[in-house]
Symmetry: C2
Subunit: 583 residues, 2 copies
């Protein structure tokens, strides 16, 4: 059953921009412009930093923050989602492209562009063919574990910039050992800049807001001003490097960033490269979509607005294709920036388009100023941003709630840290599915008896109930399908095989929403085996849709017993079993 | 919940032979001996033929029919399962080993031995760690489709022997095109032998039994005599080739078969080879186990005997390891032979051990007689045997019953025919799992209302029921888990977002057997979003185990509404909603 559809024209469904532009007015424009200014200030240092994290030139971070935002404004359904480079996707880009080319080469950048294109293509196809359900295979605990482990990996990967040393690695062990072996070459000035920036940014997060509020700012305004912390850090450290000529004393700087609007680029059409990048692109698409749609839905609900997940796929896909043709790399909706956009009062996706204009102006005018920007500053902004992603409480929550979920999240964290993002998230998905199938493959089956004086049937092991030696009633608390069909066969056969007086077995199906072909054949096998032992098989409380389907098979014609509407009917009818010969 | 355990000693559980030997007597011995003679007569031509199918020398078929049978008699739990080479596993062996070495080489045979060892190891490990549930991932329709397609592939692959030409291929297209391109080289005498044998064997199947019965034999005896048809064909065609010296006129013959008991062999310890063969060994293990345990259970139920699936894994694993150390190749329980064994009156696994003695005698005494046996005769026995596996009725059955199952079976058949056994069965498994997750990811959700004058709630779209504008009740007919958590979020949010008077949403959970962490977080998200809209979320009819788990989380503390024991309680309590301000 699909959710109720709104009756808009197909065109508006595929181009959400047609909806909100109809009522666009001066007030909306003002709100959107204010939000755009604030998000732009936040996005400039972030886009440079995440490009660094992805192993790409700084300008590609800016390019990824221009056209993709415009594309999302046209195709996306969220009013406030702020699209652009984000930490986790940048790390995944580095992991995917790092297998194919060396950082700093033209091949590396070309592969990142192709990755964005592929990822966009996958998202658009998923949207048009309504394959958004594929994202469901990522369970919440797996995502939470993956994000936490990614945060740790990202922060660790940035420590080299803080110490001003070389270090490489795609997992925690490689990163840490590479870092430790190079610590002797630490550049003291770089380290001072890096550590001071980290400390400053943490203070901005925790200490600045109270200070601003005591100076008379309103809480919301204080919040927004605090978001400008990274810009201040960028400005101060850049000026320091320029003033004291620190670049010549070993402080790594961003260097020349080309001035101008994004170039027109094309993805590679090399099918071998597509093959190599496909799985990475799929993972990036799905992770990006899941993270993005979740924040979009949460923010939309606050204003009783509606998100269309399949159209969101198209919107994010269009953004990534836009990134690929304008020198960018994979993007998605960012959590922190979207919340800022929402809090700053953005009312329509136009705010995103205005942000794009802001970043374009930065690319045109500000890039010469970035020459002396130390990489340590960017690394510090990344570290402070991603440490807020690290949250081990999911381990405690799942431990208390469900060991299966705990296993999935613990494995995802360990595998991501130990073997990198792609192994971690793939293993998490497979483990979630495997554990779910395992769980449902051994369903809860209760043997039930009549609660005296009522028409209710309860577990014989938990309640004082009436039973009869000739009658076994099994309540199956699970859908019957291939993964538990054999279990049912074994269970029923085992229950009756050594118990001579039994003449009737009733399967109580009140919690069975589905009987697939495998389970149907297992039921047939059980029926024939019971029949060989002189036992009849009955069903009770079969749900309507399940019964409709059973009627389309031959099972009911061959059934040795009956189908009872209620378990009490079965109890009453089988109360005086006909005299039968032993088989 | 595990099935009730019998209280036998652990030793007897792991060595079932200790159980049945305790009561072994003269009557049992006679029955077992008779069955063993009949199965031996059936097994001699089959073991030679299946070795040919696997691309192995004929004697390896005999070797695979000696020690493995003894091993199963010690470790297996079925009284009547006839272990040995079977058609589908032989084809899978050819597919797996054919990637690694050329047929006829020592490497090819060594790889087959290693495959048997690996497969045995996998089965034993699955048995000891109770991983038999892994076999559940093969749904019945996928197996049925796979067996049908394999039968077609096998029969087609044997046509080259009937025509006496060379042809190769691992899928139907390769096989047919290779065959057609070589048809010009058909050896007429070979073809006459082959076609005549096929015709004779079909007649034996269909026409001989009525003839024998009209000659006064009892039906069961007539059946058993008819099983000797292949032996007669082998004898007659071998004598014909010898008499008329047909070997020199291009009829391919088996040639020299070494005389003697099986040699002691060892698998390769090359870990690279293990890596290459692992997936094939896993597929062979699982397919072999599933086919074998199913026939074992069906036959056991007819005599009220019990099969222990986990111990069956150990039994089949021991058989394969035995095959590996005695010059054999992968084996499993054969369907047709087991039924013959059962019908012939086998009472204990000793019948299998006696069959092993029979085959050992054949290997010692009869191999010189096999020199002139034409390969066309063996191919004919294979073709006639496997065509009984081909059964397209599963397509019709699933089409009527469930399109999801139909899709899985159709894809398995097409992919097996088009890309070979390994691709076919792997794709079938993945498709079954994917389709199941897809199905449960879009669960049936019904909006329900009160049937007037009762306490029952029914779907508002199907029944005349009472509803209230302020109250929405959704009955969820599925477990809530990661694959449908997002669906639930979307569904509930969509339902209420444009419907202003709603103040209360009740989720009716009578068919929900499980709420995993993802679904719990989705419920929390839904609750918060509803709360932002001024709507309370309630639950009703939550099952005991689900409630126990919810109590271990914070969800119930934060729940904006209540948990009602019955839906009617919810209806009554929410009948006069308190005056609320719009949000």
């Amino acid at each position: 059953m699909t959710p109720p559809k709104l009756t808009r024209a197909a065109l508006e469904r595929h181009l959400p921009i047609l909806t909100w532009t109809k009522t666009y007015g001066r007030d909306t424009l003002t709100s959107d412009l204010v939000a755009a200014v604030i998000v732009t200030i936040m996005l400039i240092p972030q886009s440079l930093a995440y490009a660094l994290l992805a192993g790409l030139p700084a300008e590609m971070g800016l390019y990824a923050s221009i056209l993709p935002l415009v594309a999302y404004a046209i195709f996306g359904t969220s009013r406030v989602l702020a699209v652009g480079p984000v930490a986790v996707v940048s790390l995944m880009t580095a992991a995917a492209v790092g297998n194919m080319a060396l950082q700093g080469t033209a091949e590396y950048a070309a592969a990142a562009i192709t990755l964005a294109f592929l990822s966009g293509l996958i998202l658009v196809v998923m949207g048009l063919f309504r394959l958004g359900f594929l994202a469901n295979f990522l369970s919440h605990p797996v995502i939470a574990g993956f994000i936490t482990a990614s945060g740790i990996l990202i922060a660790t990967s940035q420590l080299k910039h803080i110490f001003g040393v070389e270090a490489e690695g795609h997992n925690l062990i490689e990163l840490v050992s590479s870092l430790v072996s190079h610590l002797g070459q630490t550049n003291i000035i770089t380290m001072i800049i890096g550590v001071a920036t980290v400390a400053f940014l943490f203070w901005v997060r925790k200490g600045l807001k109270p200070l601003l509020m005591s100076a008379g700012l309103k809480p919301r305004m204080a919040d927004i001003v605090a978001k400008a912390g990274p810009v201040a850090a960028v400005a101060v450290t850049t000026i320091a490097v320029w003033l004291f000529n620190l670049g010549e004393r070993g402080v790594k700087i961003v260097g020349e960033v080309p001035t101008g609007l994004p170039p027109l680029t094309m993805p590679s059409w090399d099918l071998d490269m597509w093959g190599t990048l496909f799985v990475s692109a799929l993972l990036i698409s799905v992770i990006g979509f899941v993270e993005s749609v979740s924040v979009a839905q949460t923010l939309a609900a606050k204003r009783r607005q509606r998100i269309v997940p399949d159209q969101e796929l198209v919107g994010l896909g269009a953004s990534n294709i836009a990134a690929a043709i304008s020198g960018g790399y994979p993007v998605t909706g960012g959590f922190a920036r979207s919340v800022v956009n929402f809090d700053a009062g953005a009312e329509t996706p136009a705010a995103g388009a205005f942000t794009a204009v802001g970043i374009a102006l930065a690319a045109l005018l500000l890039t010469p100023l970035l020459f002396f920007l130390p990489k340590a500053t960017l690394a510090a902004t990344i570290i402070v941003a991603v440490l807020s992603l690290v949250d081990f409480s999911i381990l405690k929550k799942t431990w208390g709630y469900s060991r299966v979920d705990f296993t999935a999240v613990a494995a995802t964290i360990l595998l991501t840290l130990g073997f990198g993002v792609e192994v971690g998230v793939s293993a998490g998905v497979m483990l979630s599915i495997g554990l779910f199938l395992y769980k449902t493959s051994r369903p809860h089956v209760a043997e039930v008896g009549l609660v005296p004086g009522t028409q209710h049937f309860r577990n014989i092991n938990r309640h004082e109930v009436e039973t009869r030696p000739s009658l076994v009633t099994l309540r199956i608390d699970e859908n019957l399908y291939f993964a538990n069909a054999r279990f049912l066969e074994d269970y029923v056969t085992d229950r009756v095989i050594c118990d001579e007086p039994i003449t009737d077995v009733v399967l109580m199906c009140s919690a069975v929403n589905e009987i697939d072909m495998s389970a149907l054949e297992s039921l047939e096998a059980v029926m024939h085996r019971l029949s060989d032992m002189g036992i009849r098989l009955h069903l009770s409380e079969v749900k309507g849709p399940v019964m409709d389907r059973l009627k389309r098979s031959h099972f009911l014609d061959e059934l040795t017993g009956e189908v009872f509407l209620s378990q009490f009917d079965a109890w009453a009818a089988l109360g005086n079993p006909p005299a039968r010969e032993a088989s």
